[in-house]
């Protein structure tokens, strides 16, 4: 069922691209209410809308019927955060969010796979950690960019997804007392993601029991614009093999940067072999 929702989102995104005539830097939609294509708990949808309406990166919203689905379109701008990241050099990959709906669907998969804690690494505005919290999971958001963490603090009044301003590679994960965590690694393999993932994997593997109990979600791309990994997995194959992980699920979901792309982000779910 979750994979159907994911496919429906990708399909509807294609419709949205055809009908969107605005000029915003980033844009996405959230269905207004539960439907056959998006059988999502109404209260969860309300919380997703709340995340968008309280998030200052979005400056405009309007109702629009996309395909057969009544949606709210959110228009936003993340240039300010990009400018901050290039000036301070704090972040290895500039902030480019996944869609809120994609974060929610990703968290749904994580929950279905039996994980109880989501750790959003390189979390941007913390949307994946927020979505995990919407689904009743515990979540933690790790972000190195202080301006983005400042933004996250504006978004935790309804659901606290525990923002941490920290370098995820140096963070002490034992302080979180994790039991069945899943780590979402922000950043494509080809955009510094493997460096980040390698550092976090080393930290987690050094904590007893966590290596076997942890899940991993890597964001990849099949786009020809990027160098392909000889072991595939949307750029993550070599890292997966080297760390003795196995890929258990692969879903395609839209992100801000894939709006004009034919291929969306490939989320590779993996666990210890």
């Amino acid at each position: 069922m979750i994979s159907d929702i994911a496919k429906n989102l990708v399909k509807l995104k294609k419709e949205f691209v055809k009908v969107y005539d605005g000029n915003s830097q980033i844009q996405e939609f959230i269905p207004k209410s539960t439907s056959e294509l998006f059988p999502i708990v109404e209260s969860h949808l309300d919380l997703l809308h709340e995340f968008a309406t309280t998030n200052p990166i979005y400056y405009n919203s309007f109702e629009k019927k996309i395909g057969s689905v009544d949606c709210i379109v959110y228009e936003g701008d993340i240039n300010k955060y990009w400018l901050n990241s290039i000036q301070h050099g704090s972040s290895k990959a500039p902030f480019s969010p996944t869609w809120i709906m994609s974060g929610y669907i990703g968290a749904m998969f994580a929950k279905e796979l039996g994980y109880s804690e989501v750790i959003d690494i390189g979390s941007g505005d913390g949307r994946i950690a927020y979505c995990a919290k919407v689904l009743g999971m515990e979540s933690y958001s790790l972000e190195i960019d202080d301006l983005l963490v400042e933004l996250q603090h504006l978004l935790i009044s309804t659901l606290n997804f525990h923002p941490h301003c920290t370098d995820a590679v140096a963070f002490d994960y034992s302080s979180l007392n994790l039991s069945r965590p899943i780590f979402f690694i922000g950043g494509l393999a080809q955009m510094g993601g493997t460096f980040l993932a390698t550092g976090v994997l080393e930290k987690i593997n050094s904590i007893s029991n966590l290596k076997q109990n942890s899940g991993w979600v890597f964001a990849g791309t099949l786009s020809q614009k990027y160098v392909t990994d000889p072991k595939n997995e949307a750029g993550w194959g070599t890292l997966i093999e080297k760390n003795n992980l196995k890929s258990i699920q692969n879903i395609s979901l839209p992100a801000a940067w894939t709006f004009h792309e034919s291929d969306d982000v490939q989320y590779i779910f993996a666990k210890s072999n």
Partner: protein
């Protein structure tokens, strides 16, 4: 098959185009990013031709080899030593100026129209930064020659 004369004519024509680019770069103070990039492409185009033709030196007429040396001298003395550092300084300064302006523009509340208008300036900054990376790659190439 292309004759030696054809090759000479082609090299001569591309060298003349490069000479024009260099003259423009020397005389024009407000070259835009597209003109700057086009100049680099022509330098690289002619340099590649020169490298390839020198590898076949035995079969090329001496007049062509002499022309290649002249053109390489022009690239080294006029472009690499004078124009390229000037371009790099100009691009770096433009990035600084744009960044400063955008920081200033970013303070305070803005309308939808202002945000979307500023987004175009951010796009321009990103393009200029990409151009700087491209120009720096050229510099790396020179330093490894």
């Amino acid at each position: 098959m292309t004759s030696s004369e054809d090759i000479s004519q082609m090299f001569d024509s591309e060298s003349k185009k490069l000479q024009n680019f260099i003259d423009t770069a020397n005389s024009k103070t407000d070259m835009n990013i597209h003109e700057i990039v086009a100049t680099y492409y022509q330098v690289m185009n002619v340099s590649s031709m020169a490298t390839m033709l020198k590898q076949q030196a035995d079969s090329e007429p001496s007049s062509l080899l002499s022309q290649i040396r002249e053109t390489e001298k022009m690239i080294s003395e006029k472009f690499d030593s004078i124009i390229h550092p000037k371009f790099l300084a100009k691009i770096s300064s433009a990035i600084q100026e744009m960044t400063k302006n955008l920081q200033f523009e970013n303070s305070g509340e803005k309308s939808k129209e202002q945000i979307e208008s500023n987004a175009k300036l951010f796009e321009e900054l990103r393009q200029t930064m990409s151009t700087k990376e491209f120009v720096e790659q050229y510099e790396n190439g020179i330093s490894h020659d």
